[in-house]
């Protein structure tokens, strides 16, 4: 089985978010970049398939050489080969088109991506990729079993779960639950050394055209000071929620 894991390179969850150049550019200085957490859950599951079923695990990323340390980390964790489509990720549509063109000439049995990236939260690349390839897609995936050429994937729905069965190849958009936080792997020295020897291919882009453009950023308005209510006077809290906030 050949698995392709799509990787986004995103600011660490603890990052302070700031913008420069009249709020048109994200300030990446002093920001630590990591594997998108949702993608890391998927990569971890892919490596489990490698260990249990002998799958080959490749990773792919659309971006510039700035992302290479993140991709090397994926190799150190256990992926066998990395591809980087050498173009800045412009928007969801163009990234999905770049990935679709790659997969059309390099078929995989299973394509795993994160539910969404934690920077732009689009949740669009995996679904668009599946639609462009005309293969099944399961988002918010929290369970995945493969039997031959059939996959049963479980997705989280509002207030529950749904199990869906389909034929491979398939795209899944995964999240925490597909593996646990405690299953995530920290690269060890051996993995880091091996990663240097693993194939890392730079792929020329299709020059897909973006369908959207982010033109300006804004930070949320400064929050007014919290109104503290004494623990002995909860009637006051109810009164504020009722009359001032109008939420009861």
């Amino acid at each position: 089985m050949n698995i392709l894991v799509c990787i986004s390179h995103v600011p660490d969850t603890t990052s302070k978010i700031n913008f420069i150049e009249a709020n048109t550019v994200f300030e990446s200085r002093d920001v630590q970049y990591v594997i998108n957490p949702n993608d890391e859950f998927g990569l971890t599951r892919a490596i489990w398939f490698k260990e249990k079923l002998g799958a080959q695990v490749h990773i792919i990323h659309v971006g510039t050489p700035k992302s290479d340390p993140t991709l090397r980390k994926c190799l150190a964790i256990g992926a066998d080969k990395a591809f980087r489509i050498n173009t800045p990720a412009l928007d969801g549509v163009s990234v999905a088109q770049e990935l679709a063109a790659f997969v059309k000439s390099n078929p995989y049995d299973l394509i795993i991506a994160g539910r969404e990236s934690i920077d732009y939260n689009g949740a669009m690349v995996p679904g668009m990729l599946a639609a462009l390839l005309d293969i099944p897609f399961v988002p918010n995936c929290v369970g995945l079993d493969i039997d031959g050429t059939t996959a049963v994937a479980e997705r989280e729905i509002d207030g529950g779960r749904e199990k869906l069965k389909g034929s491979l190849p398939m795209v899944i958009g995964c999240q925490k639950g597909l593996v646990e936080e405690s299953d995530l792997r920290i690269p060890n020295m051996r993995g880091i050394m091996q990663a240097r020897q693993k194939p890392f291919e730079i792929v020329p882009p299709q020059e897909a055209i973006a369908a959207t453009q982010d033109v300006k950023f804004e930070k949320p308005a400064e929050k007014a000071e919290v109104k503290l209510v004494p623990a002995e006077d909860l009637d006051q809290l109810i009164d504020l929620l009722h009359k001032e906030a109008n939420v009861l």
């Binding site: 969850t13 207030g159 199990k163 033109v215």
Partner: protein, 318 residues
């Protein structure tokens, strides 16, 4: 050019978020000065969309009665391409976010999810949406002739605007499925994080899963969904689907009550877009107090049962 509003239904009735999505779609069409219609699958009360200004509903019932993203996306795609639909307005539920990217790819459309306001510019259409998991906003231009817009939960609100509504039955031509539903589990009779008006959430400060009745009792009085912080789900006190935060579920309710949650930056990111936040914590230095609207510094084991009692009395009078 026209606007098509996709509303969701469940058990043959419109879902709660249909009102907000319809309100947005109607206002959007007005702003662009073009016509609009809504499309619903299996909704016997689809005419109620007239309450929110929708004069015409396309009703499709020759598709799977349970939600099937690919089949529904094909049906919408077919209708949209035959009827000169240029803008598709959807919600932000798990199902809406399942369909939207499939549909956008089929229509060659730009897609903007998590949109919180009407366009601030029309040429090209530019919408404001949340980004960086609610730590910021971004204004996104849609550069394609056809667009898909996902309206964030509780972001725009409901606008009552009653008009006469006609429902037209239309058969979908192509509604192929590529997945088979083998099982579905759904909690019934309980508010879910996705569509509750109020969410009551507990953290490590509750000391153990055996104390969760405090959260549940308060939630019951408020008709609220229950949620938890990441450490609580990591320790297995509560299941994953209750974890709210950056790697869990986003919450955008009207009222979010955090009990015994210190307020790590990842948690705050997940709940930032909730309108009113109340924090109950015994540590006055907990970072959550800086992000909250109202706070009580006190022992959750004393404050929460008292608050539950008082709210019961308040609700009984209301």
């Amino acid at each position: 050019m026209s606007v098509l509003i996709i509303v969701e239904s469940e058990n043959k009735l419109l879902k709660r978020n249909a009102a907000e999505v319809a309100s947005y779609g109607v206002a959007f069409a007005e702003k662009l000065n073009i016509s609009c219609a809504a499309l619903a699958f299996h909704a016997t009360n689809a005419n109620e969309l007239g309450q929110y200004g929708v004069a015409k509903v396309i009703h499709v019932s020759n598709v799977s009665t349970h939600f099937d993203a690919n089949a529904y996306a094909n049906a919408i795609h077919g209708f949209a391409s035959q009827n000169n639909v240029t803008h598709i307005i959807m919600g932000s539920s798990a199902d809406a976010k399942f369909i939207a990217p499939l549909l956008a790819a089929k229509l060659n459309a730009g897609y903007a999810p998590n949109v919180i306001a009407l366009p601030d510019e029309l040429s090209p259409i530019t919408v404001k949406r949340t980004a960086f998991t609610n730590k910021a906003f971004v204004h996104t231009q849609l550069l394609t002739a056809c667009t898909v817009i996902g309206v964030g939960n509780n972001a725009f609100g409901v606008i009552e605007n009653p008009v006469t509504c006609t429902v037209k039955e239309v058969d979908a031509e192509n509604s192929d499925s590529n997945l088979e539903q083998v099982a579905i589990e759904k909690t019934t009779g309980k508010a879910t994080i996705a569509d509750a008006d109020v969410v009551v959430s507990g953290g490590r400060g509750l000391k153990g899963p055996e104390n969760w009745h405090l959260i549940e009792e308060l939630a019951e009085v408020l008709d609220a969904a229950t949620a938890c912080s990441k450490p609580v789900s990591d320790m297995g006190w509560r299941s994953h689907d209750e974890h709210v935060g950056q790697t869990g579920k986003p919450v955008s309710t009207n009222l979010y009550i955090a009990i015994g949650i210190s307020g790590a930056i990842q948690h705050l990111a997940g709940v930032n877009s909730s309108k009113v936040k109340v924090v109950i914590n015994n540590d006055p230095d907990a970072p959550f107090f800086k992000a909250a609207d109202y706070g009580v510094v006190g022992d959750a084991f004393e404050v929460v049962p008292k608050l539950t009692q008082k709210l019961k009395a308040f609700k009984a009078l209301a």
